[in-house]
């Protein structure tokens, strides 16, 4: 009961805190599995995004909120730990600035900076491959997913839409298949596709958003029944969030048309 209202009437600071809390287990598991390189990635990523947060806050005369913490944590979970540092710095800077800061910060833009940074990393460095998610990381996303669902930062409509679409597209029939799909997609669903500021905002729009992200994952993965790659998931999340305003526009127009028809 307390958690469902934890964000009511509070600012973005509390939102970032809850999202960071949700990201702690997967980040901890990533560090536990990969060791020092992952810590290096996390530290560099934190420095880069927080510097940009601070620079923009100072330039605009806004109070500083460490919104970038979540961006850095998400990137740490997804990128391979041997990524060249200069490359990490460039894509994170671009992702943070173009994906979030130029719009005014978290909640003003239409993209998730983490998704933008990951997509830029894949586009700008040919041959870069993200490691497949491990079962431990996927499991570690679950407590965070519950926390985000309860506080309203992750929409059940998006989750259900996404799950329905991938289960259909990948033709899941057996438990091992479902497990493989869960391991591959859990982190991307909770932290990339489900990011509330980069998703559709109407209930039916959210279902469409989830279904779209799931369908695109299958298409970008080469329409094969093998579990989706992280690259496919990142691009699907990016395309879905770019299309989210359009989805909302269509839902709102349909809603207005229905109201007009019903009331004569």
């Amino acid at each position: 009961m307390f958690l469902t209202r934890a964000l009511h009437g509070r600012g973005t600071g509390r939102v970032v805190a809850i999202q960071t809390l949700a990201l702690l287990p997967p980040v901890a598991v990533t560090i536990w599995q990969t060791g020092e390189p992952a810590i290096g990635v996390l530290v560099v990523a934190l420095i880069v995004v927080l510097v940009w947060d601070y620079v923009f806050a100072a330039l605009r005369g806004h109070p500083f909120t460490p919104e970038g913490i979540t961006t850095a944590a998400i990137v740490t979970v997804f990128v391979s730990p041997d990524i060249p540092l200069w490359h990490l710095i460039v894509v994170l800077s671009l992702g943070s600035v173009v994906g979030e800061r130029v719009f005014g910060g978290r909640g003003y833009g239409f993209l998730s900076p983490a998704t933008a940074a990951l997509a830029l990393a894949l586009l700008s460095l040919p041959g870069l491959v993200f490691p497949a998610q491990s079962p431990a990381v996927a499991l570690a996303c679950l407590p965070g997913a519950v926390l985000l669902l309860v506080t309203g930062l992750l929409s059940p409509f998006i989750v259900l839409g996404f799950l329905a679409a991938v289960m259909l597209a990948f033709g899941v029939a057996t438990t091992p298949e479902a497990t493989a799909l869960f391991v591959a997609g859990a982190a991307a669903l909770v932290f990339l596709v489900g990011e509330p500021t980069a998703a559709a905002v109407t209930p039916s729009g959210r279902i469409v958003h989830g279904v779209l992200a799931g369908g695109l994952t299958w298409i970008f993965g080469g329409s094969s029944p093998s579990p989706p790659t992280t690259e496919a998931l990142v691009f699907a999340a990016l395309m879905a969030s770019i299309l989210a305003p359009l989805i909302d526009h269509l839902v709102v127009s349909g809603n207005a048309w229905q109201r007009q028809r019903r009331r004569g």
Binding site: G9, L153, P196, V201, V251, R263
Partner: protein, 396 residues
């Protein structure tokens, strides 16, 4: 659930009362009394400048101790202090006639109606597409309508009969499931019973369910206690200013029921001379839809001491994070987050398309409470409604 302490009227005999401009949005007034005048109960205090037939009357006998105007000659506040001494004040009580409309107008009962769209009392000569009577407790701790109606069914029936003469459409009576009603034989009254929940407690939610606003038409809403008062007036010709409300203090386990005059001073009713504690404030109306206030709102049936959540207005706008709980905050088929975005930038065209004409300030109060941005959506909605009213109805 509610303590059975029906305090009598003497409980608040020495509390001042006030009429508040925020209950009558868009109404410009002409005063019929001046400051320091003695007024009788039911005496006309002021009338609508645009429609002189709409009168506002005094809930009690006393002295006008304050009268101040808001922008464009709207009412800010008119305070009456109780005063039993001195000569009898000049009374211009309305004469009874046959026409219900004329009698309600002259008797000062017209402002009990809230017209949608735009809110406030309806035009004196308007005929709504329907009238929605709410006889559901507006929150779990509001007075139980069945208890309030006990022994007053005759007046309620007279009031309901009166309402049927004001509209060519139906009069909808909204009740909690299981409420037994007495009388009410008229075919024009349709009763609706539902389990009281978030989508059945407020007048706006009930209207959205039983009679959504038809394009270009009005729907009026009125509370059951105002129907009783109207019936009482139509039967006896005297103005009944008393309403049953519940009061709640944090240290009380359960709220208490009291009968108080309209617009009673909450300071007197709740603090009782104590010092105001920092971080707490007086609230008129329910936890979800009420407002910070010194006097009881015209349509409120609850008053409490509540935590002061009013946020100081920061220098910078904070962002809106589309939380899932916002979707369930509106009992209307209006998409919440697109509406909030359109309201916060004052986009009247998009707001109209989204269905903002169905809404009034109280309906969007939950959005203000939940939203991370600290935006006052009630105020934004009022600005947008004023803009639409001035420019004529939007095409939607």
């Amino acid at each position: 659930m509610i303590r059975d302490t029906f305090a009598d009227a003497t409980h608040t005999a020495h509390a001042s009362v006030a009429l508040l401009g925020e209950d009558y949005p868009g109404v410009r007034i002409r005063a019929d009394v001046a400051q320091d005048d003695l007024v009788a109960q039911g005496q006309i205090l002021f009338h609508d400048a645009g429609q002189p037939a709409i009168k506002f009357v005094s809930p009690l006998r006393g002295r006008v101790s304050a009268l101040s105007y808001g922008p464009r000659r709207t009412l800010a506040i008119l305070v009456i202090d109780p005063d039993d001494g001195g000569p009898d004040p000049q009374v211009n009580l309305p004469k009874p006639g046959d026409d219900v409309r004329a009698r309600l107008l002259a008797g000062g009962l017209w402002p009990a109606f809230v017209a949608r769209p735009f809110g406030g009392p309806p035009d004196a000569d308007a005929r709504p597409a329907a009238i929605v009577v709410s006889a559901v407790a507006s929150s779990p701790v509001a007075p139980d309508p069945e208890r309030v109606l006990e022994g007053r069914w005759a007046e309620f029936e007279a009031g309901m009969d009166g309402l049927t003469t004001l509209t060519d459409g139906p009069v909808h009576l909204c009740l909690a499931s299981g409420t037994e009603i007495e009388g009410l034989s008229t075919a024009r009254i349709s009763t609706h019973r539902r389990r009281p929940g978030r989508k059945w407690r407020t007048a706006g939610a009930q209207m959205a369910r039983v009679h959504p606003l038809p394009p270009g038409a009005q729907v009026w809403t009125i509370g059951y206690q105002d129907v009783i008062a109207a019936g009482h007036f139509l039967m006896t010709g005297s103005f009944d200013p008393f309403r049953t409300i519940t009061t709640h203090r944090p240290e009380w386990d359960i709220p208490r029921e009291v009968r108080v005059p309209l617009g009673v001073n909450l300071d007197r009713l709740l603090w009782k001379g104590e010092r105001v504690k920092p971080g707490w404030c007086l609230r008129s109306g329910s936890a979800l839809h009420g407002r910070r206030a010194g006097y009881l709102g015209r349509h409120h049936e609850e008053a409490s001491i509540a935590r002061d959540h009013e946020q100081p207005h920061g220098s910078t706008a904070k962002p809106l994070i589309p939380l899932g709980s916002l979707d369930r905050a509106l009992p209307f088929d209006v998409p919440a987050v697109p509406l909030m975005r359109a309201l916060s930038i004052g986009d009247a065209e998009v707001c109209g398309k989204l269905g903002c004409l169905d809404l009034l300030e109280e309906d969007v109060a939950p959005l203000t409470a939940i939203c991370t941005s600290g935006t006052d959506y009630g105020r934004c909605l009022r600005d947008v409604l004023d803009q639409i009213r001035m420019e004529g109805a939007p095409c939607s």
